[in-house]
């Protein structure tokens, strides 16, 4: 599906085979391309390998074969603590805040480095909820507030690419829509997004490009607008109902 008018890629995973245990790959020859300032969404059933792909990009699982390229630099088998230095932030699916640290301490840790104070201030400006709770331990926040904090920790790094693993999970439909709308707005600020989203309907509405993974392999991919009317996608993921184009 190469489109000459498509924006340049910021991240490219090419033929990635990766997993948690040697000789037992979870991902098989998976390729994903994230365009600059676009939202690229991964969908697929439980256990499809979506989180594993995010972790492979982040250097958190072993990549047995294939390459990961970010801004033209080869990041395959990146040391996980070097991710932030390459302008990439990750919002993991679970355990994505430090419960024993306060909101402010979480953000201070996430925003270390030059200009930290200004970035920290900007985060509090953007999220009054977090500003109010700055001295609360993250473990005492509600699920929704914790997700807001996890996303804020990513933004506090002023990243160029954010990997987000189901940031809307466990949220009320309203809160989920708000988080995704916020993600959408980030692209206008120059950020590129690779997002895992379990709500296929929302994903197809807000994504630019969608990849469907199953059993650790690429299945279908294409512009979200095209997949919204796709027969196969509709059958598999939407119980036969097609979504009206937004």
């Amino acid at each position: 599906m190469s489109d000459p008018t498509a924006p340049e890629a910021i991240l490219e995973a090419h033929g990635v085979t990766a997993g948690y245990v040697r000789d037992l790959p979870v991902l098989h020859d998976v390729s994903v391309r994230v365009a600059r300032q676009r939202v690229t969404v991964l969908i697929g059933p439980n256990g499809a390998g979506k989180s594993t792909l995010i972790k492979a990009v982040a250097g958190q699982v072993t990549v047995f074969a294939g390459t990961v390229t970010h801004e033209g630099t080869d990041l395959t088998r990146l040391r996980p603590d070097r991710l932030a230095a390459h302008g990439i932030a990750i919002v993991p699916q679970t355990d994505n805040v430090f419960r024993n640290l306060t909101v402010r301490q979480n953000l201070a840790l996430a925003s270390r480095g030059t200009g930290a104070a200004a970035r920290l201030a900007a985060v509090f400006d953007r999220s009054p909820v977090l500003a109010d709770k700055r001295h609360t331990k993250a473990g005492a926040l509600s699920g929704g507030q914790r997700q807001v904090l996890a996303v804020a920790m990513a933004l506090a790094k002023a990243p160029r690419l954010i990997l987000m693993d189901e940031p809307s999970a466990g949220l009320s439909p309203k809160a989920a829509a708000e988080v995704l709308a916020m993600v959408r707005r980030l692209t206008a600020e120059g950020v590129s997004i690779l997002l895992v989203e379990q709500n296929v309907k929302l994903a197809l509405q807000m994504a630019d490009h969608v990849y469907i993974l199953a059993e650790g392999r690429n299945q279908v991919d294409g512009p979200a607008a095209a997949l919204r009317g796709d027969r196969i996608v509709a059958d598999i993921y939407l119980g036969g109902k097609r979504i009206a184009a937004a």
Binding site: Q60, P80, D95, N96, F98, N100, L109, R112, G113
Partner: protein, 304 residues
């Protein structure tokens, strides 16, 4: 009775320092390090060596700060020993624990720590002899606080208490006010997330050993100031230090601090009702009691 309480507070001072280091190591490296108390011995003997060296090289420091028996040379030696003991802890990790850790066997770490304790203890005995030694040959005269009941305090004991609290206060500030402290606590809670936030795990592990070693050295010197320095001091202290971390809750610095004083006071108070020969059993009974009643200790969080 009040005398026992005072002695208990003193014992608590060095137990707390030992327990804080142990709890940090156990929290971040996730293994019960039975060689931790040997770091107190390393610290005490390193300070002894440097003390003699500084007294010889810098005679001005050889005089005691009356009414303490403490000399400038020993204060300097304490500081150098804290660094040297921290470095020894790092070295032991590189030589032994890191290799086992990278093969991912938690139980082997515990056994290795038993072995390490024996090696260190016997090496010290070999080099320094099995007899006990003192930092100062001067007899410290105790100040009588009261004659009836008789309550005695040595100035050195007050120094130990104040110095221990000061060291713990510094550590508390580092852990709660600096990004380094946040990073350390972050690694203890969730290493993968800490890494994703740019924290270098190896550097943090080194830092933890340095801190634990430095605290242990201070504890060892304070023990030596109030008791004697012997190659088997680690053997005598390992149980009370473990009791202090377990009472406080593994991973909790404040818990270890309080746990140290609780164990120190309880052990000394037990002398009121128990013959002296039974006091070493007190920390053991406290471990059992805590594990039965409140397995996560006073401040510990349930894990996973």
């Amino acid at each position: 009775m009040i005398q026992n309480l005072l002695d208990g507070v003193l014992t608590g001072s060095f137990l707390s320092l030992g327990a804080i280091g142990l709890t940090l190591v156990m929290h971040i490296l996730r293994f019960a390090n039975f060689s931790h108390a040997e770091l107190l011995s390393i610290g005490a003997y390193a300070a002894l060596v440097f003390d003699r060296l500084f007294e010889a090289l810098l005679p001005v420091f050889a005089a005691a700060f009356a009414p303490l028996t403490l000399t400038g040379a020993l204060v300097l030696a304490l500081l150098v020993s804290m660094v040297a003991t921290g470095a020894s802890a790092v070295l032991i990790d590189i030589l032994v624990f890191r290799r086992i850790r990278e093969n991912g066997r938690e139980l082997s770490m515990v056994f290795a720590s038993f072995g390490m304790a024996l090696v260190v203890r016997n090496l010290i005995g070999l080099v320094f002899g099995l007899h006990s030694q003192l930092y100062s040959p001067d007899i410290a005269f105790a100040t009588v606080l009261s004659f009836d009941p008789l309550i005695l305090v040595k100035p050195d004991q007050l120094f130990v208490f104040v110095a221990a609290l000061a060291i713990m206060a510094v550590l508390h500030l580092v852990l709660t006010r600096t990004t380094f402290g946040f990073a350390l606590r972050a690694v203890a809670e969730n290493p993968a997330l800490a890494q994703a936030n740019g924290v270098n795990l190896r550097a943090m592990i080194t830092a933890v050993w340095l801190i634990a070693g430095a605290l242990a050295a201070a504890a060892g010197v304070f023990y030596g100031l109030s008791h004697q320095i012997t190659p088997v001091m680690g053997r005598d202290l390992v149980l009370p230090i473990f009791a202090a971390t377990i009472v406080g809750g593994i991973g909790s610095v404040n818990g270890a601090l309080l746990g140290g004083f609780i164990v120190g006071i309880a052990t000394n108070l037990s002398l009121v009702i128990l013959p002296a020969g039974y006091t070493p059993a007190v920390p053991f009974l406290m471990i059992l009691a805590v594990l039965l009643v409140r397995p996560n200790g006073l401040f510990g969080e349930a894990r996973e």
